[in-house]
């Protein structure tokens, strides 16, 4: 167990800065996405959903990768510092929220462009599986047991689960798909998009990444405080049991003649 020194304050100058930057860039995305960028030739205003849809997807990937990396760090570090485990947990929680936002925005977008909320498409289905996998990951974290066991078990699951991300990303290439082929991260360096749209998209990615960072920093501190609180509660419980022990000893010794 690491030393338990913590303060009740979760905000630090760094997190405040991150938060402020996140706010600014999100405001930029809202303005850029809704007013500055042009309508799409085919899709009209619906294309504006992209500024939420795509960044949340990528940041969810990022979150799951952070979870995997933190899990690997926990497994490999000699001290098994619980900090890594908390980052892994916090990041997966935020990732699940973002992935859910991707699904939600995607199905709204699908309703407008394809005429239905959902289609049996590899990208969509694998995305749903990825979400369920990480809900399962969070369920495993909630199984109970000691902190160390929670960390060890969930680290293994996180390292296996992250392997699904390539599956989601390349699914459009592997199967016939309705969904957009990769147009930005296609690897051939040829980006097919209007300049202001691209800028707004990039700012969106930065904004969502900052939001993610801010959320994880806070969540991870709250988790640290929860763990620390468990320790203080343990102190109280130990004291209570010690009293019980004194009473019992008296009874027991009088009975054992």
């Amino acid at each position: 167990m690491e030393a338990q020194t913590f303060t009740a304050r979760v905000a630090t100058p760094t997190t405040r800065l991150v938060g402020a930057m996140a706010l600014v860039s999100m405001a930029w995305v809202v303005i850029g996405g809704l007013f500055v960028t042009p309508r799409d030739v085919d899709q009209g205003d619906a294309v504006r959903i992209m500024y939420v849809h795509v960044p949340t997807a990528w940041v969810a990937y990022l979150a799951f990768i952070v979870t995997a990396v933190a899990s690997a760090c926990w497994l490999l570090s000699r001290k098994h510092s619980m900090g890594f485990d908390r980052v892994a947990g916090a990041s997966a929680e935020v990732g699940v929220v973002f992935m859910a936002m991707t699904l939600l925005s995607g199905s709204l977008w699908g309703r407008i462009t394809w005429g239905s909320y959902w289609a049996w498409d590899p990208r969509l289905t694998t995305t749903a599986f990825l979400l369920v996998t990480y809900i399962g990951y969070l369920a495993v974290r909630g199984l109970g047991g000691s902190l160390e066991q929670r960390a060890r078990r969930s680290a293994v699951i996180a390292l296996l689960a992250v392997l699904e991300i390539p599956l989601v990303h390349f699914s459009v290439l592997m199967w016939r798909s309705l969904h957009q082929k990769a147009s930005v991260l296609s690897g051939d360096g040829d980006i097919k998009m209007d300049g202001s749209m691209l800028t707004t998209l990039l700012v969106g990615v930065i904004g969502f990444t900052l939001t993610f960072t801010w959320l994880v920093l806070h969540r991870q501190r709250v988790l640290a405080m929860q763990d620390a609180m468990q320790m203080t509660q343990l102190d109280a419980a130990l004291r209570e049991r010690a009293n019980e022990s004194e009473n019992k000893s008296v009874i027991e010794s009088s009975r054992l003649k």
Partner: protein
């Protein structure tokens, strides 16, 4: 003084024990096999259309396998944890990798037997035609898919065994993970059946996916089973 055995010998002993229990109780043979057969019949009922059935036969075989896998895994760990025997193995410090490989092997044997039966059922019920061209592909696909399924099943079975109420967590954790196997095996099987005009050669890349999958989870299980069954 307790001398610990090699992984291989532990795995053999564990697999032999699991298979002996199965041969003795006949639960899989007498009950899970008919269950899987019934699932196939139910599909036929629910779909109620011959052409569709023949086209999706491969998928249905693997779906039935998947549902049966869940039950086989639950049974495999129920036998161990009923009276705390899994815990006893843990306490005794048996090499967890050996337990993992042994249990996975036993599951594999049961699963392959089941699949052979299901393919026969598909031929009879769904009027699938087997082609000699596709035979090698089909066998390779069955072996690699089964290995992958057994490894994943044993891995998550170990994680969810023991504590009460965890059994039901198994399908939730397992199904999304085995989805690639379902897809890969279905596509490879369809190629082997040449359903919908698929060519046999189309199936091989999918078998590659299956082999990689089995390798990843086999290795993952050997490395991590100890941490997963730990309380």
């Amino acid at each position: 003084m307790s001398t610990q055995l090699s992984l291989g010998r532990i795995a053999r002993a564990v697999a032999a024990k699991d298979l002996r229990i199965e041969l003795r109780s006949r639960v899989v043979i007498n009950q899970i096999f008919p269950f899987a057969g019934l699932v196939m019949v139910m599909f036929a009922f629910a779909l109620d259309n011959d052409d569709v059935l023949t086209r999706v036969a491969g998928g249905l075989v693997w779906l039935a396998t998947l549902f049966s896998l869940i039950i086989i895994i639950q049974r495999s760990f129920a036998v161990d944890s009923a009276d705390g025997a899994l815990e006893a193995q843990r306490v005794a410090g048996l090499n967890p990798a050996g337990i993992f490989v042994g249990k996975a092997l036993a599951v594999m044997v049961q699963l392959v037997t089941l699949e052979i039966m299901l393919f026969f059922a598909a031929v009879v019920l769904y009027r699938v035609e087997l082609h000699s061209d596709g035979a090698v592909l089909l066998v390779t696909c069955v072996i690699s898919a089964t290995a992958g399924l057994s490894f994943v099943g044993t891995l998550y079975g170990g994680l969810t065994a023991g504590a009460r109420g965890r059994e039901t967590l198994l399908p939730l954790l397992m199904l999304p993970v085995v989805a690639p196997v379902l897809i890969g095996a279905t596509r490879a099987t369809e190629s082997a059946f040449m359903s919908g005009g698929a060519a046999v050669s189309d199936g091989w890349p999918w078998v590659g996916v299956l082999v990689v999958f089995a390798a990843v989870f086999g290795l993952g299980g050997i490395l991590s089973f100890g941490s997963l069954i730990e309380e």
